[in-house]
Protein backbone atom coordinates (compact mmCIF):
# COMPACT_ATOMS: atom_id res chain seq x y z
CA UNK A 1 0.00 0.00 0.00
CA UNK A 2 1.66 3.21 -1.24
CA UNK A 3 0.62 6.61 0.12
CA UNK A 4 1.69 9.98 -1.31
CA UNK A 5 1.02 13.40 0.19
CA UNK A 6 2.23 16.78 1.40
CA UNK A 7 3.71 17.18 4.86
CA UNK A 8 2.35 19.03 7.87
CA UNK A 9 5.03 19.28 10.51
CA UNK A 10 4.40 19.35 14.28
CA UNK A 11 6.69 19.20 17.33
CA UNK A 12 7.10 16.94 20.38
CA UNK A 13 4.36 15.89 22.84
CA UNK A 14 1.43 16.77 20.56
CA UNK A 15 -1.36 15.87 22.98
CA UNK A 16 -4.93 14.78 22.35
CA UNK A 17 -6.28 18.14 23.59
CA UNK A 18 -4.37 19.80 20.73
CA UNK A 19 -5.56 17.20 18.23
CA UNK A 20 -9.21 17.55 19.22
CA UNK A 21 -10.07 19.85 22.17
CA UNK A 22 -12.49 18.42 24.74
CA UNK A 23 -15.01 21.17 23.98
CA UNK A 24 -15.82 19.26 20.77
CA UNK A 25 -16.20 15.84 22.41
CA UNK A 26 -19.95 16.17 22.62
CA UNK A 27 -20.19 14.53 19.20
CA UNK A 28 -18.90 11.39 17.52
CA UNK A 29 -19.56 12.70 13.99
CA UNK A 30 -16.27 12.20 12.09
CA UNK A 31 -16.75 15.23 9.80
CA UNK A 32 -17.53 17.55 12.69
CA UNK A 33 -14.48 16.28 14.58
CA UNK A 34 -12.38 16.76 11.41
CA UNK A 35 -13.48 20.40 11.18
CA UNK A 36 -11.73 21.09 14.52
CA UNK A 37 -8.71 18.84 13.98
CA UNK A 38 -5.45 20.30 15.42
CA UNK A 39 -7.35 23.52 16.18
CA UNK A 40 -5.35 24.54 19.26
CA UNK A 41 -2.02 23.73 17.60
CA UNK A 42 -2.70 25.31 14.17
CA UNK A 43 -6.03 27.02 13.60
CA UNK A 44 -5.56 26.93 9.82
CA UNK A 45 -5.01 23.17 9.64
CA UNK A 46 -8.59 21.94 9.26
CA UNK A 47 -9.33 24.46 6.50
CA UNK A 48 -6.16 23.84 4.50
CA UNK A 49 -5.39 20.14 4.90
CA UNK A 50 -5.97 18.20 1.65
CA UNK A 51 -6.89 14.55 1.19
CA UNK A 52 -3.75 12.42 1.32
CA UNK A 53 -1.64 14.88 3.33
CA UNK A 54 0.77 13.39 5.87
CA UNK A 55 1.61 14.55 9.41
CA UNK A 56 5.22 14.35 10.60
CA UNK A 57 5.84 14.96 14.31
CA UNK A 58 8.40 14.47 17.06
CA UNK A 59 8.30 12.30 20.19
CA UNK A 60 5.25 11.11 22.14
CA UNK A 61 2.61 12.02 19.52
CA UNK A 62 -0.92 11.62 20.88
CA UNK A 63 -0.07 11.76 24.58
CA UNK A 64 -2.83 12.56 27.05
CA UNK A 65 -6.34 11.21 27.01
CA UNK A 66 -7.71 7.97 25.58
CA UNK A 67 -10.15 9.77 23.27
CA UNK A 68 -10.43 7.81 20.03
CA UNK A 69 -11.92 11.02 18.64
CA UNK A 70 -8.28 12.12 18.12
CA UNK A 71 -7.25 9.60 15.43
CA UNK A 72 -10.82 9.74 14.05
CA UNK A 73 -10.49 13.53 13.58
CA UNK A 74 -7.11 13.14 11.85
CA UNK A 75 -8.32 10.37 9.55
CA UNK A 76 -11.56 12.16 8.69
CA UNK A 77 -9.65 15.35 7.91
CA UNK A 78 -8.13 13.36 5.04
CA UNK A 79 -4.70 12.71 6.55
CA UNK A 80 -3.36 9.49 5.01
CA UNK A 81 -0.62 8.72 7.52
CA UNK A 82 1.04 10.03 10.68
CA UNK A 83 4.81 9.60 10.96
CA UNK A 84 6.39 10.40 14.33
CA UNK A 85 9.61 9.80 16.21
CA UNK A 86 7.45 7.97 18.78
CA UNK A 87 3.79 7.64 19.78
CA UNK A 88 1.96 7.56 23.11
CA UNK A 89 0.67 4.03 23.61
CA UNK A 90 -3.10 4.59 23.77
CA UNK A 91 -3.02 6.76 20.63
CA UNK A 92 -0.99 4.11 18.80
CA UNK A 93 -3.50 1.41 19.63
CA UNK A 94 -6.47 3.62 18.78
CA UNK A 95 -5.00 4.63 15.42
CA UNK A 96 -4.57 1.01 14.35
CA UNK A 97 -8.02 0.13 15.68
CA UNK A 98 -9.73 2.79 13.54
CA UNK A 99 -7.55 2.19 10.48
CA UNK A 100 -5.30 5.25 10.49
CA UNK A 101 -1.82 4.31 9.21
CA UNK A 102 0.96 5.44 11.57
CA UNK A 103 4.68 4.87 11.41
CA UNK A 104 7.26 5.14 14.18
CA UNK A 105 10.36 6.39 12.42
CA UNK A 106 12.80 7.76 15.01
CA UNK A 107 14.42 11.18 14.89
CA UNK A 108 15.73 11.01 11.31
CA UNK A 109 12.41 11.99 9.71
CA UNK A 110 12.67 15.36 11.45
CA UNK A 111 14.69 16.43 8.39
CA UNK A 112 11.45 16.39 6.38
CA UNK A 113 9.99 19.89 6.05
CA UNK A 114 6.45 21.24 5.97
CA UNK A 115 5.11 21.20 2.41
CA UNK A 116 7.49 18.49 1.18
CA UNK A 117 5.91 15.79 -0.96
CA UNK A 118 6.54 12.36 0.56
CA UNK A 119 5.81 8.80 -0.52
CA UNK A 120 5.27 6.05 2.07
CA UNK A 121 5.21 2.29 1.47
CA UNK A 122 3.22 0.82 4.36
CA UNK A 123 4.22 -2.73 3.45
CA UNK A 124 7.93 -2.04 3.78
CA UNK A 125 7.99 1.04 6.04
CA UNK A 126 10.04 2.99 3.47
CA UNK A 127 9.56 6.78 3.49
CA UNK A 128 10.81 8.75 0.46
CA UNK A 129 11.02 12.54 0.36
CA UNK A 130 10.30 13.51 -3.27
CA UNK A 131 10.85 17.27 -2.80
CA UNK A 132 14.25 17.06 -1.10
CA UNK A 133 15.32 13.59 -2.19
CA UNK A 134 16.06 11.37 0.80
CA UNK A 135 14.85 8.01 2.11
CA UNK A 136 14.06 6.87 5.64
CA UNK A 137 13.17 3.49 7.06
CA UNK A 138 10.39 2.97 9.61
CA UNK A 139 9.38 -0.35 11.11
CA UNK A 140 6.75 -1.84 8.80
CA UNK A 141 3.41 -2.98 10.17
CA UNK A 142 3.18 -6.75 10.53
CA UNK A 143 0.77 -8.15 7.95
CA UNK A 144 -2.18 -8.59 10.36
CA UNK A 145 -1.95 -4.91 11.24
CA UNK A 146 -1.81 -4.01 7.55
CA UNK A 147 -4.98 -6.05 7.10
CA UNK A 148 -6.68 -4.13 9.94
CA UNK A 149 -5.72 -0.81 8.30
CA UNK A 150 -6.90 -2.07 4.90
CA UNK A 151 -10.25 -3.16 6.35
CA UNK A 152 -10.71 0.32 7.81
CA UNK A 153 -10.23 -0.66 11.42
CA UNK A 154 -10.45 -3.51 13.93
CA UNK A 155 -14.23 -3.91 13.99
CA UNK A 156 -14.48 -4.15 10.18
CA UNK A 157 -11.54 -6.55 10.21
CA UNK A 158 -13.25 -8.77 12.79
CA UNK A 159 -16.51 -8.70 10.82
CA UNK A 160 -14.71 -9.61 7.58
CA UNK A 161 -12.92 -12.45 9.35
CA UNK A 162 -16.16 -13.69 10.92
CA UNK A 163 -17.91 -13.60 7.52
CA UNK A 164 -15.15 -15.72 5.90
Amino acid sequence: MIIKGCIWKFGNDVNTDLIIPARYLNTTDPQELASHCMEDADKSFAGRVRPGDIIVAGCNFGCGSSREHAPVAIKSAGVSCVIAASFARIFYRNAVNIGLPILEAGESVQAIESGDEVEVDLATGEIRNLTHPAAYQAAAFPSFMQQIIKAGGLINYVRERMAD
Binding site: D17, A22, N26, D40, S66, A88, R93, N94
Partner: protein, 422 residues
Protein backbone atom coordinates in the same frame (compact mmCIF):
# COMPACT_ATOMS: atom_id res chain seq x y z
CA UNK B 1 14.43 -14.83 37.49
CA UNK B 2 11.45 -13.53 39.45
CA UNK B 3 8.52 -11.54 38.17
CA UNK B 4 7.12 -8.12 38.98
CA UNK B 5 3.59 -7.70 40.31
CA UNK B 6 2.49 -6.42 36.87
CA UNK B 7 3.94 -9.49 35.13
CA UNK B 8 2.31 -11.84 37.65
CA UNK B 9 -1.15 -10.35 37.18
CA UNK B 10 -0.83 -10.50 33.38
CA UNK B 11 0.47 -14.09 33.51
CA UNK B 12 -2.39 -15.09 35.81
CA UNK B 13 -4.97 -13.65 33.43
CA UNK B 14 -3.31 -15.12 30.34
CA UNK B 15 -3.36 -18.64 31.80
CA UNK B 16 0.42 -18.71 31.85
CA UNK B 17 3.01 -19.69 34.44
CA UNK B 18 5.12 -16.69 33.60
CA UNK B 19 5.46 -13.84 31.12
CA UNK B 20 8.38 -11.60 30.21
CA UNK B 21 8.48 -7.93 29.10
CA UNK B 22 7.86 -7.52 25.37
CA UNK B 23 5.69 -10.64 25.04
CA UNK B 24 2.22 -10.26 23.55
CA UNK B 25 -0.41 -11.93 25.73
CA UNK B 26 -4.17 -12.24 25.51
CA UNK B 27 -5.73 -11.67 28.93
CA UNK B 28 -9.09 -12.38 30.50
CA UNK B 29 -10.60 -9.15 31.84
CA UNK B 30 -12.21 -8.83 35.27
CA UNK B 31 -13.81 -5.52 34.39
CA UNK B 32 -14.26 -3.13 31.45
CA UNK B 33 -15.09 0.54 31.92
CA UNK B 34 -16.44 3.31 29.73
CA UNK B 35 -17.49 6.90 30.39
CA UNK B 36 -19.88 9.36 28.76
CA UNK B 37 -17.22 10.56 26.27
CA UNK B 38 -15.77 7.22 25.20
CA UNK B 39 -18.78 4.90 25.50
CA UNK B 40 -20.79 6.42 22.60
CA UNK B 41 -18.06 5.54 20.06
CA UNK B 42 -17.61 2.13 21.69
CA UNK B 43 -21.34 1.41 21.52
CA UNK B 44 -21.42 2.38 17.83
CA UNK B 45 -18.58 -0.07 17.17
CA UNK B 46 -20.06 -2.77 19.44
CA UNK B 47 -23.38 -2.63 17.60
CA UNK B 48 -21.59 -3.26 14.28
CA UNK B 49 -20.71 -6.72 15.62
CA UNK B 50 -24.42 -7.59 15.79
CA UNK B 51 -24.18 -9.29 19.18
CA UNK B 52 -27.17 -9.75 21.48
CA UNK B 53 -25.23 -9.54 24.74
CA UNK B 54 -22.03 -8.27 26.36
CA UNK B 55 -19.58 -10.87 27.74
CA UNK B 56 -20.87 -10.34 31.29
CA UNK B 57 -23.42 -7.60 32.16
CA UNK B 58 -22.04 -7.53 35.73
CA UNK B 59 -18.49 -6.73 34.59
CA UNK B 60 -19.18 -3.80 32.28
CA UNK B 61 -19.17 -0.45 34.10
CA UNK B 62 -20.51 2.73 32.48
CA UNK B 63 -20.06 6.02 34.36
CA UNK B 64 -21.58 9.29 33.18
CA UNK B 65 -19.09 11.78 34.59
CA UNK B 66 -17.35 14.05 32.08
CA UNK B 67 -20.12 16.28 30.70
CA UNK B 68 -22.68 15.20 33.31
CA UNK B 69 -25.16 16.53 34.45
CA UNK B 70 -25.69 17.05 30.71
CA UNK B 71 -23.93 20.27 29.75
CA UNK B 72 -25.64 20.83 26.40
CA UNK B 73 -28.07 19.23 23.96
CA UNK B 74 -25.42 17.25 22.08
CA UNK B 75 -24.08 15.78 25.34
CA UNK B 76 -27.63 14.98 26.43
CA UNK B 77 -28.22 13.04 23.20
CA UNK B 78 -25.07 11.02 23.79
CA UNK B 79 -26.08 10.14 27.37
CA UNK B 80 -29.49 9.09 26.07
CA UNK B 81 -27.80 6.70 23.65
CA UNK B 82 -25.69 5.19 26.45
CA UNK B 83 -28.68 4.91 28.78
CA UNK B 84 -30.64 3.05 26.11
CA UNK B 85 -27.71 0.70 25.54
CA UNK B 86 -27.38 0.07 29.31
CA UNK B 87 -31.07 -0.84 29.55
CA UNK B 88 -31.07 -2.99 26.43
CA UNK B 89 -28.01 -4.99 27.48
CA UNK B 90 -28.84 -5.15 31.19
CA UNK B 91 -25.66 -3.36 32.31
CA UNK B 92 -25.75 -3.69 36.10
CA UNK B 93 -23.17 -1.03 36.90
CA UNK B 94 -24.53 1.94 35.00
CA UNK B 95 -24.02 5.15 37.01
CA UNK B 96 -25.98 8.26 36.12
CA UNK B 97 -26.81 11.55 37.88
CA UNK B 98 -27.53 10.99 41.56
CA UNK B 99 -25.48 7.77 41.69
CA UNK B 100 -22.51 8.62 39.56
CA UNK B 101 -19.19 10.02 40.64
CA UNK B 102 -15.91 10.66 38.88
CA UNK B 103 -15.16 7.15 37.62
CA UNK B 104 -11.73 6.72 39.22
CA UNK B 105 -13.04 7.91 42.59
CA UNK B 106 -16.16 5.77 42.24
CA UNK B 107 -14.88 2.32 41.25
CA UNK B 108 -12.47 1.80 44.19
CA UNK B 109 -14.99 3.26 46.64
CA UNK B 110 -17.71 0.89 45.40
CA UNK B 111 -15.38 -2.12 45.52
CA UNK B 112 -15.92 -2.75 41.81
CA UNK B 113 -12.19 -3.06 41.13
CA UNK B 114 -10.17 -5.14 43.58
CA UNK B 115 -6.54 -6.21 44.11
CA UNK B 116 -5.19 -8.60 41.50
CA UNK B 117 -7.71 -7.56 38.83
CA UNK B 118 -6.81 -7.19 35.17
CA UNK B 119 -8.99 -4.52 33.61
CA UNK B 120 -9.25 -1.94 30.86
CA UNK B 121 -11.06 1.38 30.82
CA UNK B 122 -11.70 3.74 27.96
CA UNK B 123 -10.19 6.58 29.94
CA UNK B 124 -6.49 7.26 30.20
CA UNK B 125 -6.62 7.60 34.00
CA UNK B 126 -7.80 4.01 34.40
CA UNK B 127 -4.24 3.41 35.61
CA UNK B 128 -5.47 4.81 38.98
CA UNK B 129 -6.52 1.34 40.18
CA UNK B 130 -2.94 0.12 40.27
CA UNK B 131 -2.92 1.67 43.75
CA UNK B 132 -5.00 -1.31 44.88
CA UNK B 133 -2.54 -3.81 43.40
CA UNK B 134 -4.52 -4.33 40.18
CA UNK B 135 -3.34 -4.16 36.56
CA UNK B 136 -5.45 -1.40 35.03
CA UNK B 137 -4.77 0.50 31.83
CA UNK B 138 -6.43 3.02 29.57
CA UNK B 139 -7.58 2.10 26.07
CA UNK B 140 -9.75 3.70 23.38
CA UNK B 141 -13.33 3.10 22.39
CA UNK B 142 -12.72 0.28 19.90
CA UNK B 143 -10.77 -1.74 22.47
CA UNK B 144 -13.63 -1.09 24.90
CA UNK B 145 -16.09 -2.41 22.30
CA UNK B 146 -14.01 -5.55 21.80
CA UNK B 147 -13.62 -5.92 25.58
CA UNK B 148 -17.37 -5.63 26.11
CA UNK B 149 -17.87 -8.30 23.44
CA UNK B 150 -15.24 -10.82 24.46
CA UNK B 151 -14.07 -10.02 27.98
CA UNK B 152 -10.51 -10.25 26.68
CA UNK B 153 -7.78 -7.88 25.54
CA UNK B 154 -4.26 -8.33 24.19
CA UNK B 155 -1.35 -6.57 25.84
CA UNK B 156 2.36 -6.22 25.30
CA UNK B 157 3.86 -7.04 28.70
CA UNK B 158 5.46 -3.77 29.83
CA UNK B 159 8.93 -3.41 31.23
CA UNK B 160 8.75 -2.26 34.84
CA UNK B 161 10.40 0.79 36.42
CA UNK B 162 10.75 0.87 40.20
CA UNK B 163 10.40 4.09 42.18
CA UNK B 164 11.54 3.85 45.78
CA UNK B 165 10.62 6.67 48.16
CA UNK B 166 12.78 6.46 51.28
CA UNK B 167 12.19 8.20 54.58
CA UNK B 168 9.38 10.36 55.86
CA UNK B 169 7.22 12.86 54.05
CA UNK B 170 7.42 16.50 55.03
CA UNK B 171 4.31 18.26 56.34
CA UNK B 172 1.86 19.23 53.56
CA UNK B 173 3.40 16.75 51.13
CA UNK B 174 1.10 14.06 49.72
CA UNK B 175 0.73 11.64 46.82
CA UNK B 176 0.23 14.48 44.33
CA UNK B 177 3.54 16.06 45.25
CA UNK B 178 5.38 12.74 44.95
CA UNK B 179 3.99 12.00 41.51
CA UNK B 180 4.54 15.56 40.19
CA UNK B 181 8.09 15.36 41.52
CA UNK B 182 8.59 11.99 39.80
CA UNK B 183 7.23 13.18 36.44
CA UNK B 184 9.45 16.24 36.78
CA UNK B 185 12.48 13.94 37.03
CA UNK B 186 11.65 11.46 34.23
CA UNK B 187 9.53 13.61 31.85
CA UNK B 188 6.16 13.09 30.15
CA UNK B 189 7.46 10.16 28.14
CA UNK B 190 9.88 8.87 30.75
CA UNK B 191 7.77 5.77 31.37
CA UNK B 192 6.25 5.38 27.89
CA UNK B 193 4.84 1.85 27.43
CA UNK B 194 6.18 0.85 30.87
CA UNK B 195 4.84 -0.05 34.32
CA UNK B 196 5.63 2.36 37.17
CA UNK B 197 5.89 0.49 40.46
CA UNK B 198 5.93 2.63 43.62
CA UNK B 199 7.44 1.38 46.85
CA UNK B 200 9.43 2.43 49.94
CA UNK B 201 8.62 3.65 53.48
CA UNK B 202 7.00 6.86 52.26
CA UNK B 203 4.59 4.93 50.03
CA UNK B 204 3.77 2.62 52.95
CA UNK B 205 3.00 5.73 55.01
CA UNK B 206 0.66 7.14 52.35
CA UNK B 207 -3.06 6.40 52.60
CA UNK B 208 -4.70 4.34 49.88
CA UNK B 209 -6.15 7.63 48.65
CA UNK B 210 -2.68 9.13 48.27
CA UNK B 211 -1.57 6.06 46.34
CA UNK B 212 -4.60 6.34 44.05
CA UNK B 213 -3.49 9.91 43.31
CA UNK B 214 0.00 8.70 42.41
CA UNK B 215 -1.06 5.84 40.15
CA UNK B 216 -3.68 8.12 38.56
CA UNK B 217 -0.93 10.25 37.03
CA UNK B 218 1.31 7.39 35.83
CA UNK B 219 -0.13 8.00 32.36
CA UNK B 220 1.22 11.57 32.50
CA UNK B 221 4.68 10.00 32.28
CA UNK B 222 3.45 7.86 29.38
CA UNK B 223 3.13 4.70 31.49
CA UNK B 224 0.87 1.78 30.66
CA UNK B 225 0.10 1.29 34.35
CA UNK B 226 1.08 2.45 37.81
CA UNK B 227 1.09 -0.03 40.65
CA UNK B 228 1.57 -0.40 44.41
CA UNK B 229 1.65 -3.86 46.00
CA UNK B 230 -1.21 -4.34 48.50
CA UNK B 231 -0.40 -4.01 52.21
CA UNK B 232 -2.45 -3.86 55.42
CA UNK B 233 -3.86 -0.48 54.43
CA UNK B 234 -5.08 -1.91 51.13
CA UNK B 235 -6.71 -4.86 52.86
CA UNK B 236 -8.38 -2.57 55.41
CA UNK B 237 -9.62 -0.38 52.53
CA UNK B 238 -11.12 -3.43 50.82
CA UNK B 239 -12.57 -4.98 54.00
CA UNK B 240 -16.06 -3.52 53.64
CA UNK B 241 -15.83 -2.62 49.95
CA UNK B 242 -14.62 -5.51 47.78
CA UNK B 243 -17.54 -7.03 45.91
CA UNK B 244 -15.53 -10.03 44.72
CA UNK B 245 -12.89 -12.29 46.25
CA UNK B 246 -9.49 -10.99 45.29
CA UNK B 247 -5.90 -12.09 44.99
CA UNK B 248 -2.90 -10.27 46.42
CA UNK B 249 0.26 -10.23 44.29
CA UNK B 250 3.73 -8.87 45.09
CA UNK B 251 6.94 -8.50 43.11
CA UNK B 252 9.67 -11.09 43.69
CA UNK B 253 12.89 -9.80 45.29
CA UNK B 254 14.78 -10.71 42.08
CA UNK B 255 12.18 -9.31 39.68
CA UNK B 256 13.70 -7.47 36.70
CA UNK B 257 13.43 -3.69 36.46
CA UNK B 258 14.55 -1.72 33.45
CA UNK B 259 15.27 1.26 35.75
CA UNK B 260 15.25 1.90 39.50
CA UNK B 261 14.83 5.45 40.81
CA UNK B 262 15.38 6.20 44.49
CA UNK B 263 14.22 9.41 46.13
CA UNK B 264 14.47 10.83 49.66
CA UNK B 265 10.91 11.78 50.56
CA UNK B 266 12.18 14.26 53.15
CA UNK B 267 13.81 16.30 50.36
CA UNK B 268 10.55 16.80 48.50
CA UNK B 269 8.63 20.06 48.98
CA UNK B 270 5.03 20.54 47.92
CA UNK B 271 5.15 20.68 44.11
CA UNK B 272 3.58 22.86 41.43
CA UNK B 273 3.62 21.94 37.72
CA UNK B 274 3.92 24.98 35.47
CA UNK B 275 2.17 25.23 32.07
CA UNK B 276 1.95 23.42 29.71
CA UNK B 277 3.19 19.96 30.72
CA UNK B 278 2.99 17.98 33.98
CA UNK B 279 6.79 17.48 33.78
CA UNK B 280 7.31 21.19 34.51
CA UNK B 281 7.09 20.56 38.25
CA UNK B 282 9.01 22.71 40.71
CA UNK B 283 8.97 23.24 44.48
CA UNK B 284 6.09 25.55 45.47
CA UNK B 285 8.65 28.07 46.74
CA UNK B 286 9.66 28.68 43.11
CA UNK B 287 6.05 29.43 42.17
CA UNK B 288 5.33 31.74 45.10
CA UNK B 289 3.52 34.92 44.18
CA UNK B 290 2.02 33.83 40.86
CA UNK B 291 -1.51 35.27 40.88
CA UNK B 292 -4.40 32.99 39.88
CA UNK B 293 -7.97 33.69 38.72
CA UNK B 294 -9.45 30.32 39.65
CA UNK B 295 -8.70 27.45 42.03
CA UNK B 296 -10.22 24.03 41.38
CA UNK B 297 -10.14 21.33 44.07
CA UNK B 298 -11.44 18.00 42.77
CA UNK B 299 -11.01 15.54 39.84
CA UNK B 300 -10.09 11.84 39.60
CA UNK B 301 -6.68 12.85 40.90
CA UNK B 302 -7.64 14.76 44.06
CA UNK B 303 -11.41 14.63 44.57
CA UNK B 304 -11.40 12.14 47.45
CA UNK B 305 -12.41 12.66 51.07
CA UNK B 306 -8.83 12.98 52.32
CA UNK B 307 -8.23 15.75 49.74
CA UNK B 308 -11.33 17.62 50.90
CA UNK B 309 -10.32 17.22 54.55
CA UNK B 310 -6.87 18.63 53.79
CA UNK B 311 -8.34 21.60 51.92
CA UNK B 312 -11.00 22.26 54.56
CA UNK B 313 -8.39 22.10 57.33
CA UNK B 314 -6.65 25.07 55.71
CA UNK B 315 -9.79 26.97 54.66
CA UNK B 316 -11.63 26.65 57.99
CA UNK B 317 -12.39 30.09 59.40
CA UNK B 318 -10.77 31.79 56.41
CA UNK B 319 -12.11 33.23 53.18
CA UNK B 320 -10.97 32.75 49.62
CA UNK B 321 -9.51 35.86 48.00
CA UNK B 322 -12.14 38.00 46.29
CA UNK B 323 -9.80 38.13 43.29
CA UNK B 324 -10.47 34.52 42.35
CA UNK B 325 -13.16 31.86 41.98
CA UNK B 326 -12.83 28.79 44.20
CA UNK B 327 -14.56 25.65 42.93
CA UNK B 328 -14.71 22.46 45.02
CA UNK B 329 -15.92 19.22 43.44
CA UNK B 330 -16.35 16.13 45.66
CA UNK B 331 -15.52 13.02 43.59
CA UNK B 332 -18.60 10.92 44.35
CA UNK B 333 -22.01 11.10 46.02
CA UNK B 334 -20.62 9.18 49.02
CA UNK B 335 -17.73 11.63 49.37
CA UNK B 336 -20.18 14.52 49.02
CA UNK B 337 -22.39 13.08 51.76
CA UNK B 338 -19.52 12.37 54.10
CA UNK B 339 -18.06 15.84 53.50
CA UNK B 340 -21.45 17.26 54.41
CA UNK B 341 -21.67 15.20 57.61
CA UNK B 342 -18.18 16.27 58.65
CA UNK B 343 -18.98 19.93 58.04
CA UNK B 344 -16.44 20.26 55.23
CA UNK B 345 -18.97 21.61 52.74
CA UNK B 346 -19.93 24.29 55.25
CA UNK B 347 -16.27 25.29 55.54
CA UNK B 348 -16.03 25.58 51.74
CA UNK B 349 -19.23 27.57 51.31
CA UNK B 350 -18.31 29.90 54.19
CA UNK B 351 -14.93 30.40 52.53
CA UNK B 352 -16.71 31.59 49.41
CA UNK B 353 -16.37 28.44 47.32
CA UNK B 354 -18.82 27.05 44.79
CA UNK B 355 -19.39 23.40 45.73
CA UNK B 356 -20.39 21.30 42.73
CA UNK B 357 -22.04 17.93 42.26
CA UNK B 358 -19.45 15.30 41.19
CA UNK B 359 -18.21 15.81 37.60
CA UNK B 360 -14.93 15.89 35.66
CA UNK B 361 -16.24 19.28 34.46
CA UNK B 362 -13.48 21.90 34.36
CA UNK B 363 -10.52 19.46 34.41
CA UNK B 364 -10.86 18.90 30.67
CA UNK B 365 -12.47 22.23 29.86
CA UNK B 366 -15.92 20.67 29.72
CA UNK B 367 -18.05 22.86 31.95
CA UNK B 368 -18.35 24.18 35.54
CA UNK B 369 -15.39 26.55 35.43
CA UNK B 370 -14.00 27.33 31.96
CA UNK B 371 -11.13 29.81 31.69
CA UNK B 372 -11.21 32.95 29.54
CA UNK B 373 -8.41 34.29 27.35
CA UNK B 374 -5.39 35.12 29.51
CA UNK B 375 -6.77 33.60 32.71
CA UNK B 376 -4.78 31.34 35.00
CA UNK B 377 -5.96 28.50 37.21
CA UNK B 378 -4.33 26.48 39.97
CA UNK B 379 -5.95 23.06 39.99
CA UNK B 380 -5.61 19.73 41.75
CA UNK B 381 -6.30 18.08 38.37
CA UNK B 382 -3.86 16.10 36.23
CA UNK B 383 -3.15 17.93 32.96
CA UNK B 384 -2.02 21.46 32.21
CA UNK B 385 -1.87 21.19 28.41
CA UNK B 386 -2.56 24.20 26.18
CA UNK B 387 -6.29 24.98 26.38
CA UNK B 388 -6.99 22.14 28.79
CA UNK B 389 -9.36 24.15 31.01
CA UNK B 390 -10.73 26.53 28.40
CA UNK B 391 -9.30 29.19 26.10
CA UNK B 392 -6.13 28.11 24.25
CA UNK B 393 -4.44 31.18 25.75
CA UNK B 394 -5.33 30.35 29.35
CA UNK B 395 -2.95 28.60 31.77
CA UNK B 396 -3.23 25.77 34.28
CA UNK B 397 -0.84 25.13 37.18
CA UNK B 398 -1.13 21.74 38.91
CA UNK B 399 -0.75 21.13 42.65
CA UNK B 400 -2.12 19.12 45.56
CA UNK B 401 -5.11 20.15 47.71
CA UNK B 402 -3.03 21.82 50.44
CA UNK B 403 -1.30 24.23 48.05
CA UNK B 404 -4.61 24.80 46.24
CA UNK B 405 -6.44 25.73 49.45
CA UNK B 406 -3.65 28.01 50.68
CA UNK B 407 -3.46 29.73 47.28
CA UNK B 408 -7.22 30.23 47.23
CA UNK B 409 -6.90 32.30 50.42
CA UNK B 410 -4.06 34.54 49.30
CA UNK B 411 -4.93 34.79 45.60
CA UNK B 412 -1.49 33.69 44.49
CA UNK B 413 0.44 30.42 44.62
CA UNK B 414 1.29 29.88 48.27
CA UNK B 415 2.97 27.29 50.50
CA UNK B 416 0.34 26.02 53.00
CA UNK B 417 2.58 26.75 56.00
CA UNK B 418 2.45 30.47 55.15
CA UNK B 419 -1.30 30.52 55.65
CA UNK B 420 -1.56 28.11 58.55
CA UNK B 421 1.05 29.77 60.76
CA UNK B 422 -0.67 33.16 60.46
Amino acid sequence: MGMTITEKILAGHAGRERVAPGELVNCRLDLVLGNDITAPLAIQEFRKLGLSMVFDPGRVVLVMDHFTPNKDIKSAEQRLMIRQFAREFGIVNYFDVGAMGIEHCLLPEQGLVVPGDCMIGADSHTCTYGALGAFATGVGSTDLAAGMAMGECWFKVPESMKFVFHGELRPWVGGKDLILYTIGRIGVEGARYRAMEFTGEAIGALSVEGRLTMCNMAVEAGAKNGIVAPDDKTLAFEADRARRPYQVYASDPDAPYVEVHEYEAGQIEPQVAFPHLPENSRPVSEAAGIAVDQVVIGSCTNGRLEDLRTAAGILKGRRASSKLRLIVIPGTQEIYLQAMREGLLEVFVEAGAAVSTPTCGPCLGGHMGILAHGERALATTNRNFVGRMGHPESEVYLAGPAVAAASAITGYITHPEEVVRQ
